[in-house]
């Protein structure tokens, strides 16, 4: 037997649970212990709530989040397009605290000691954990766009690819742009957060121009060879609704910016815009590298798909956009929520001394607005495959909308209400 430490004490509690469940092979997880969750977005908020709910309060959960409220990336393009306000995409953490008993700490995490199982908080102090879930989202690789590698430049040329103050800045820039101006959005090479998101944004900015500044143009500078999601549906929307207003340029990788002249520099060309919206390449949130986790291409965290546990660091689970994706798996809020549930179920089993579920299923739906009342979707279902040790998309399932339609504009808002509630209510 190991020396008796605090964690062993907790494990004994869990073991007792395993014995109790032996008699009836009962359904409930008799898990105990303390789980720290870093990041309160689609993944982190979900795992925090589900750990508390499924353990019936048996597991203590601390959520560390730097922002005072949750602000949703999905639907934020409607704010950029002037169709929604920030209040419409902002949700409180109060229910996680008061209804679910999650300890929510507004702070930044400086580092994780994965051997001692402690995290260090920016405002001071350490927290110990039995298991930790990192849901840090992405951080931008400004070294890939050197001109943007300072705070002043980042206030002038925004990404607005994390919903928050930059969403508001981009909206203001569009409002103050003259009629006849040019808005340009750059897309990094895949994988990036929310594959259809940039094309949706182009549509909604074009819709705003069409109604208010009809001489203006939208230019998409895509580092990829082609449109990354829902291609025929986006092309049709551009052609039907925004003809001569949206220009798509493939293989246009923005390598740098001339901030003073709001100009994007590609390898052989440059492009001047009135409003320049550069989405730099991104990687797993910085905390993942700091914690020493195994990264694929030095960017995305490699995980065990049965538990979302890091492949090289026991006790550390990683979910959401930070993860190296399984085949065809998008980086989306919906998928992060699904990762959160997979991780919650696995962690409760592990804390109770049981193996994780060997057949997890994940699914994704994503709605994109091509106009105020016109939406297209893409859906996929991913079943765990033993041979590849990864979830694989189910052939013949999932797919896209037959055509853009008004019904799904309502469904998309229903989706948002329900997923926000599933995480935070």
């Amino acid at each position: 037997m190991m020396l008796m430490k605090r964690r062993d004490f907790l494990k004994m509690g869990a073991a007792t649970g395993a014995m109790a469940s032996m008699y009836g092979c009962a359904a409930g997880n008799k898990a105990g212990g303390h789980v720290v969750v870093v990041g309160g977005g689609f993944g982190g908020a979900t795992v925090a709530k589900y750990l508390r709910m499924w353990s019936e309060g048996g597991v203590q959960v601390t959520l560390i989040e730097r922002n005072p409220t949750f602000i949703s990336c999905p639907i934020s393009n409607l704010v950029v397009g002037g169709l929604k306000d920030m209040a419409d995409i902002t949700v409180s953490y109060d229910n996680l605290k008061n209804k679910w008993g999650v300890r929510v700490i507004q702070d930044d995490v400086l580092g994780v000691d994965t051997a001692k199982r402690t995290v260090t908080l920016a405002k001071g102090g350490n927290l110990s954990y039995d298991r930790i879930v990192l849901s840090p989202g992405v951080d931008f690789m400004y070294d890939q766009v050197p001109g943007l590698n300072n705070a002043a430049a980042q206030e002038k040329i925004v990404h607005a690819w994390k919903a928050g103050s930059q969403t508001v800045t981009l909206r203001r820039q569009l409002e103050s742009m003259k009629d006849g101006g040019v808005y340009a959005i750059s897309i990094p090479k895949a994988p990036y957060r929310c594959p259809p998101g940039p094309y949706e944004r182009a549509c909604l900015v074009a819709a705003y121009f069409k109604a208010n500044k009809p001489k203006s143009k939208v230019v998409i500078l895509d580092a990829n060879e082609d449109i990354q999601s829902k291609k025929p549906l986006f092309l049709k929307a551009w052609n039907d609704l925004y003809k001569d207003m949206i220009e798509y340029r493939n293989n246009s990788d923005v390598k740098d910016v001339d901030v003073a002249n709001t100009t994007a520099l590609t390898e052989f060309d440059k492009f001047k815009a009135d409003v320049l919206n550069v989405i730099p390449p991104h990687r797993a949130g910085n905390i993942a590298a700091k914690a020493g986790l195994d990264l694929v291409n030095n960017r995305w965290v490699s995980v065990n798909w049965l538990s979302m546990e890091s492949t090289n660091t026991p006790g550390v689970h990683v979910i959401g956009d930070a993860v190296f994706p399984a085949p065809t798996m998008p980086k989306s809020g919906h998928m992060a929520n699904q990762h959160g549930k997979l991780a919650a179920a696995a962690i409760l089993n592990l804390l109770a001394g049981q193996e994780p579920n060997p057949n997890p299923v994940l699914m994704n739906t994503c709605y994109s607005f091509v106009a105020e009342k016109s939406v297209i979707h893409v859906a996929s279902i991913h079943q765990y495959d033993v041979a590849t040790k990864a979830p694989q998309p189910v052939k013949g399932a999932g797919g896209v909308s037959m055509a853009r339609n008004e019904l799904e504009a309502k469904v998309a808002m229903g989706w948002a209400q329900n997923i926000w509630a599933d995480m935070l209510a």
């Binding site: 699904q338 279902i381 229903g414 989706w415």
Partner: protein
């Protein structure tokens, strides 16, 4: 933990006599994949336009899902999603939701 491995094995053996139940929470976990749209434990947000699945009779849920799969029931998206799950998985999901209040 090693001490308890035989116990787990016993549990698994006992369960293997019953259909689909190595992990007693399979139904719960599968149903949770629907909750993004249909609400936590099938409690959809009131007025959101999404079907609340909590307490829905199992046979009714299964019939709807079968109709989505076969294409009998028109849908915007559920015909594509239903095909992603096995019939056994859909049975577990419908069983779980029928038991929710």
């Amino acid at each position: 933990m090693k001490l308890f491995a035989p116990i787990t094995a016993l549990c698994l053996m006992a369960a293997s006599g019953i259909s689909h139940a190595a992990d007693p929470n399979l139904g719960r976990n599968l149903a949770a994949t629907c909750a993004n749209c249909h609400g936590t434990n099938g409690q959809a947000v009131a007025g959101s336009g999404m079907d609340a699945l909590a307490g829905m009779e199992k046979t009714k849920t299964l019939q709807k899902l079968a109709d989505f799969k076969s294409g009998v029931k028109p849908a915007s998206i559920m015909h594509q999603i239903a095909k992603g799950y096995t019939d056994e998985q859909l049975d577990l999901i419908a069983t779980y939701y029928a038991a929710q209040k």
